[in-house]
């Protein structure tokens, strides 16, 4: 059982995780990718679409033919083909699949990034504990979600620092017309005065502003880490020229330099109600290469064992095509992939029927998934949040079981 103070200071589990330098990259495939054109192809079936399937390094397991590179590292991935969730619309599903449970107003459960930022990160770290890389300023329902409360009851300091694409970190470079000494003296004076104000007035607003200054100060010290231009050209070429590849490379670079959690998104391009196959012919090969480069890089750098990589969207796509060449929303039977920290290599869990309509083995929902991710990172999935005046909440409710088959 956790106490409130236990959550404010690093927990036992988080301590262990920190010692092991656990971290997580969430490749958020917003809009919801089709399982048929990725991890659970049904070639030759009426639902299969135009793309075939290819063998993978795991005997008897096939991926979409659009994923030839992932096929060669299938023995480093775990695939769950039996996700079965409830929400059918993006906003609700994004909310559910990033927080791990259904909403219970007026209480707001923190998102995965906020929980992991709290558990795996350090409040005084110059690198933000929760970084969201997403270059697309719009994105319909994802835009609405992005405007919401990510950190929930953990508090705003566990919210994400967002950048990517046109979202540069503004004003984090020291002004050129003052010396370093001047800059530091000004900051010391500001810190002294605002701290005094905060203490004298017991002002939460002042405390929040001080926290923001601390964050900016941290960002100033590590601004170069966020600069894509400073990454080796060869690395940038390997990850592909598109924004998602570039930002996934940046995510690797950031976790390599101490960021505990980075979420990479790219608007919500996977929501192909029209032109499904016309867009997936580009999106999936791009994703295939990015996953391959990331997992291979982490392995080569000795980081894969301690870095959980999650590749998922908010649901899957319908087995049947609509009249606009698209697949619609489908939470009944969909797939996702995991790799790295605490995750079995080469596991393919769950199954769907021959047309991909129903889960036939081992249905799992968001609670099972969150219990799995927390366990894989050495975090107690059932720890109780001790929130004064709140009902009882746990990281994962109802002691939902982790997916043991994918855990080491």
């Amino acid at each position: 059982m956790f106490s409130w103070s236990g959550l404010l200071t690093p927990s036992i589990f988080a301590e262990i995780a920190k010692k092991q330098q656990k971290r997580c990259i969430l490749m958020w495939l917003c809009g919801a990718p089709s399982q048929f054109e990725t991890w659970d192809p049904k070639p030759g079936r009426i639902t299969g679409g135009p793309f075939g399937s290819i063998r993978t390094k795991i005997p008897g397991v096939h991926f979409s033919e659009l994923m030839p590179q992932c096929a060669t590292i299938a023995d480093k991935l775990s695939i769950i083909r039996s996700m079965k969730t409830e929400p059918t619309e993006h906003f609700q599903a994004i909310d559910r699949l990033t927080r791990g449970d259904a909403p219970r107003p007026p209480f707001t459960r923190p998102t995965l990034g906020s929980v992991l930022g709290q558990q795996l990160g350090q409040l005084d770290s110059p690198i933000p504990n929760f970084i969201l890389l997403d270059p697309c300023p719009e994105g319909n329902e994802f835009k609405s979600f992005k405007a919401g409360n990510w950190a929930g009851w953990l508090g705003a300091e566990y919210g994400p620092v967002r950048l990517g694409g046109d979202y540069k970190i503004p004003d984090v470079h020291k002004l050129s017309d003052i010396t370093t000494e001047d800059h530091e003296e000004r900051e010391a004076l500001r810190h002294f005065l605002t701290r005094k104000y905060e203490n004298d007035r017991q002002s939460a607003a002042a405390a929040s502003q001080n926290a923001a200054f601390q964050r900016v100060k941290g960002l100033m010290s590590c601004a170069d880490l966020f600069d894509l231009e400073k990454l080796p050209t060869k690395d940038r070429e390997r990850y592909g020229q598109g924004t998602f590849g570039q930002h996934t490379l940046l995510a690797r670079h950031l976790v390599e330099n101490g960021a505990p959690f980075v979420m990479v998104a790219n608007g919500m391009p996977w929501d192909c109600h029209v032109f499904q196959h016309e867009i997936y012919q580009m999106l999936v090969p791009d994703l295939d290469n990015i996953i391959y480069q990331l997992v291979t890089d982490l392995e080569d750098r000795g980081m894969l064992e301690d870095t959980l990589v999650v590749m998922m969207g908010e649901f899957g796509r319908t087995p049947w095509l609509n009249a606009s060449r698209g697949r619609d929303h489908y939470p009944n039977a969909w797939s996702l992939a995991l790799a790295g920290s605490g995750i079995q290599r080469g596991a393919v869990i769950g199954a769907t029927d021959e047309d991909g309509i129903e889960v036939t083995e081992n249905p799992f929902d968001e609670k099972n998934l969150f219990a799995t991710m927390f366990t894989a990172l050495g975090i107690d999935p059932y720890a109780e949040y001790d929130l004064p005046g709140f009902p009882t909440f746990h990281r994962v409710e109802k002691e939902a079981k982790p997916i043991h088959e994918v855990l080491v």
Binding site: P50, M282, G326
Partner: protein, 354 residues
């Protein structure tokens, strides 16, 4: 001129291509399930003439209706002998889909266009092709006559009425015209009005020129698709055709669909009536009141628009001009009691007052 529905024949799989067999009450239809069907339009029965490994995207007849040629998303061209109903040659001609297959007016050549949209830049500009996207074959010998390069994906192709020129359009609105006798590029230009880049939701390109057709005098080239969208996943760009004086020193747009006559949705097919006074454009309706329409070639005005309630994939007038034949698909729908509904259609319209 007006069209009236004569009959709709429902097929188990979506239909992507159609052609007449000259002198017979049969059509050839290419389908999502890869099948090439020989469809008896009288008794509405069919037999399978061939089978592709993926969607069969195009079907044409040639050599006085003795031979048919099909192509598919398997990148394969198949040659079918219509006398004995056998597929006698199969060749992989593209590393990716054949998006469209057309036959020259003298039926001596067929052209197939291909190309995969792959990420080639920070904004997901399409990457350059690794294999020529346009391939032309001699129908008598089945040999490759020439191959042309373009920026993939190349979605549409058309032969000029005199069979001397070939035009092809791509996702980015680039149109190229080659002289087939000299085997060289003679014109190229771009129309920005068919392509979207996702301002919201998804930062990539989408759309393009989905069909091309020369006017019967060969002086003009028509292109169709839909106009730009902010949200590329909405599928609600304006229904669009544009006409070009392709042979001008610098090709110019001469006219386009009248704005107040159009709704929204992707237009996938263009075809001229044999007399050349009317052309048909059809596709999908996202908003508006028609997905199939007849236009005056003289004025560009809409003569008749109708809503088929399905997505139209291909249109062709019969050689005698008395019928308009459309293929298409409705939503596949979920199975009922374990059975899938027929979601493909062939629509046969009678042409009145031609």
């Amino acid at each position: 001129m007006k069209i009236e529905l004569n009959k709709e024949i429902k097929l188990p799989s979506a239909a992507l291509g159609v052609c007449e067999i000259p002198g017979e009450d049969h059509l050839l239809v290419s389908c999502f399930d890869g099948s090439i069907l020989k469809l008896n339009t009288k008794d509405e029965t069919w037999e399978e003439l061939g089978k592709h490994g993926s969607y069969a995207s195009g079907i044409v007849t040639c050599l006085d209706g003795t031979m048919a040629v099909s192509a598919g998303y398997d990148g394969v061209i198949q040659w079918h002998d219509l006398k004995n109903g056998k597929t006698f040659a199969v060749e992989k001609i593209h590393p990716f889909w054949s998006w469209q297959l057309k036959v020259s007016h003298d039926t001596r050549m067929v052209a197939s266009v291909s190309g995969q949209y792959l990420c080639g830049g920070y904004k997901y500009e399409p990457a350059a092709e690794k294999d020529p996207s346009i391939k032309v074959f001699n129908t008598k010998t089945q040999e490759l006559v020439c191959a042309f390069t373009h920026l993939p994906p190349v979605l549409s192709v058309a032969f000029s009425p005199d069979n001397r020129h070939l035009a092809a359009g791509n996702m980015m609105g680039d149109i190229k015209v080659w002289n087939l006798e000299m085997g060289r590029l003679v014109r190229e230009w771009n129309s920005p009005d068919f392509t979207s880049w996702g301002v919201i939701k998804s930062h990539h390109y989408i759309g393009g020129i989905f069909d091309l057709s020369f006017s019967l005098d060969g002086n003009r080239l028509l292109a169709c698709g839909m106009g730009p969208m902010r949200d590329p996943m909405a599928g609600n760009g304006k229904q669009t055709w544009q006409e070009f004086d392709w042979n001008a020193d610098t090709p110019v747009k001469t006219r386009e669909i009248i704005d107040h006559e159009r709704g929204r949705g992707l237009m996938e097919t263009l075809s001229f009536h044999p007399k050349g006074k009317v052309f048909c454009m059809a596709g999908r309706m996202a908003q508006g009141n028609w997905n199939t329409a007849l236009f005056s070639n003289e004025t560009g005005e809409l003569l008749q628009g109708l809503d088929n309630k399905i997505r139209i994939t291909r249109s062709t007038f019969s050689d005698d001009g008395k019928q308009l034949i459309l293929t298409g698909a409705k939503s596949q729908g979920s199975p009922k009691d374990g059975k899938w509904s027929k979601f493909g259609s062939v629509l046969i319209y009678d042409v009145k007052d031609a």
